[in-house]
Amino acid sequence: MLLAEQALNGLQYGMMLFLMAAGLTLVFGVMGLINLAHGSLYMFGAFACAAVAAATGSFWLGLAASLVAAAAAGALVEMVVIRRLYARDHLDQVLATFALILVFSEGTRWLFGSFPLYLTLPPTLSGAVVLPGGLHYPLFRLVIIGFGAAVAVGLWWLITRTRLGIRIRAGEADREMIGALGVDIARLYTIVFALGAALAGFAGALVGSMQSVQVGMGEPVLILAFVVVVIGGIGSIKGALVGALLVGMTDTLGKALLPGLFARVLDTSSANTIGASLASMLIYILMAVVLILRPQGLFGARA
């Protein structure tokens, strides 16, 4: 029973990471851009959701607003800042997008103040449900799993079955060539960036309503999202999904099981301390192992 609940937790955590990592890997894979400000877009989505939900009283409108606002912010940032960085090397991109984090953080504080915002779930989504087998599980976590799966299917459809998807894949393979074939690369990049931003903003709104909406909430998630991208392979949506689920499961099950394993040979107090320390390292160990076996990541095309 405990294990089943922890597996669901791992699945939900993985889906949330997938929403973050999908945008990151799209932007990285297609445009070759390292975007450290992806976490800021996640925060932006959460704040947009909280502000609109507070103003209108509707969580659903807030959720829609998080998508729209993050996409708009993403498109704007791409046109104003990111566009100048494609030709630069990764170090310049890191520097510029790190500056964006600071601008976003202090801008958000200027708008909303230093105290965390209030974002609450509507009654239809809150509380726990009883699953077959008698397991009580929070409804909203099931909803996140559902949203994550829907986004995964939607992205797969977009990339493999639509004209935009063809262009994205082509842009990934050879950006000069599709430019020569008459595709408006600048607009394609803006769309891809806005799409990635919208996914991050959506994740921010979902997680914000379960955790807290505050300045700086995006940075810890960003690091994990990079781990997911590296494990899954740069540019691969499938890799992002598999990597995110792997990381989510490893982290959750590690935290749940390791202290108990250590307790068999050590006393409880030090077993808990050592178990917790090792559990927090587990995903990085996973990443190291994957990189040793497959330097390009699980589904990466290039090394």
Binding site: N9, Y13, Y118, A128, H136, S212, G216, M217, N272, T273
Partner: protein
Amino acid sequence: MKLKRLLICGTAALALAGAAQAEGVKVGMITTLSGGGAGLGVDTRDGFLLALKNAGDAGKSVELVIEDDQQKPDVAVQIADKMIQSEQVDVLTGIVWSNLAMAVVPAAVGQGKFYLSTNAAPSQLAGAGCNPKYFSVSYQNDNLHEAAGAYATDAGIGKVFIMAPNYPAGQDSLAGFKRYYKGEVVNEIYTQVGQTDYAGEIAQIRNSDADAVFFFLPGGMGIAFMKQYAESGVGKQVIGPAFSFSQDILPAVGDAALGVKNTAQWSKDLDNAANAAFVETFQAEYGRLPSLYAAQAYDTANLLLSAIAKADVQDADAFRAALAEADFPSVRGKFSFGPNQHPIQDYYVREVVKEGDVLTNKIIAPAMADHGDAYAEQCKM
């Protein structure tokens, strides 16, 4: 001739400068005004400023320099160096976080500056590392957890599940709780610092046979845990130190916090004149209810003003003696310093309630009276 005039002007200027310095005290406040933890620093700053304002003319004897440490130890150290060397402050204050305090305080008191802590009070500075120029006006870090342990024992809670982040303050917290808890600890969990998803821990709580949960999760971690705990439908009672139920974050936790018991040395409904004036003027000035951090900073400023009224800060021994008397109207009512210059004070159990639309705390019982800390004996001063 020219040289003579220059000399006269120079001496006059020096004399003036000397006079100005003797009149007032220059205070450097290092606190967190940006990043995720900024709410705590903003309340610290506002509480301190309010005390100076409420003191009228006496408040003008304090010249205050405020800088943002961004919650980063290296930045805090840089600011402290600048404040001590080029701004020549007499007193430092304001640090919220223990790791920043550990980076700044030993060096600052080593250079002869006073440090008055508005919040952070790590055990290292209370025991063997105590210093005549270091005063904690808030508490010793373990105190609120000790009070929670004492309350859980008094309330007859037989089995408890305890949890804190895996870093020194988290380990101190659980040690503090266990120091005064007489029942059985069924499980002890260390979480990651900065963790925001507690699904795994909640599953373990659900599957344990504990009667109650004690947790120390400062800042956004506590908000996240409480919201997810309420969603999970696990109905076990929750006990915590006041940090996760302080006025600055209660609105973000929302109704999930209702009914939670938490421990603190201050509450806005404490019945004394100084507190009534503080709560009323804070609301009038800033349009929100004060938090624990604001109350501690308000007391720190008033302690400083009481010492300024009695002694010159340049006379370090006299100034220290004046501080140690703690002769100021504390918003906590009774307040005095122990031998290691940490507070001896009462601790209370508060419950999160709703007053109209506003979530806030109400005192429901005493937890510990005239309580000092476990490290005072190790302090050789």
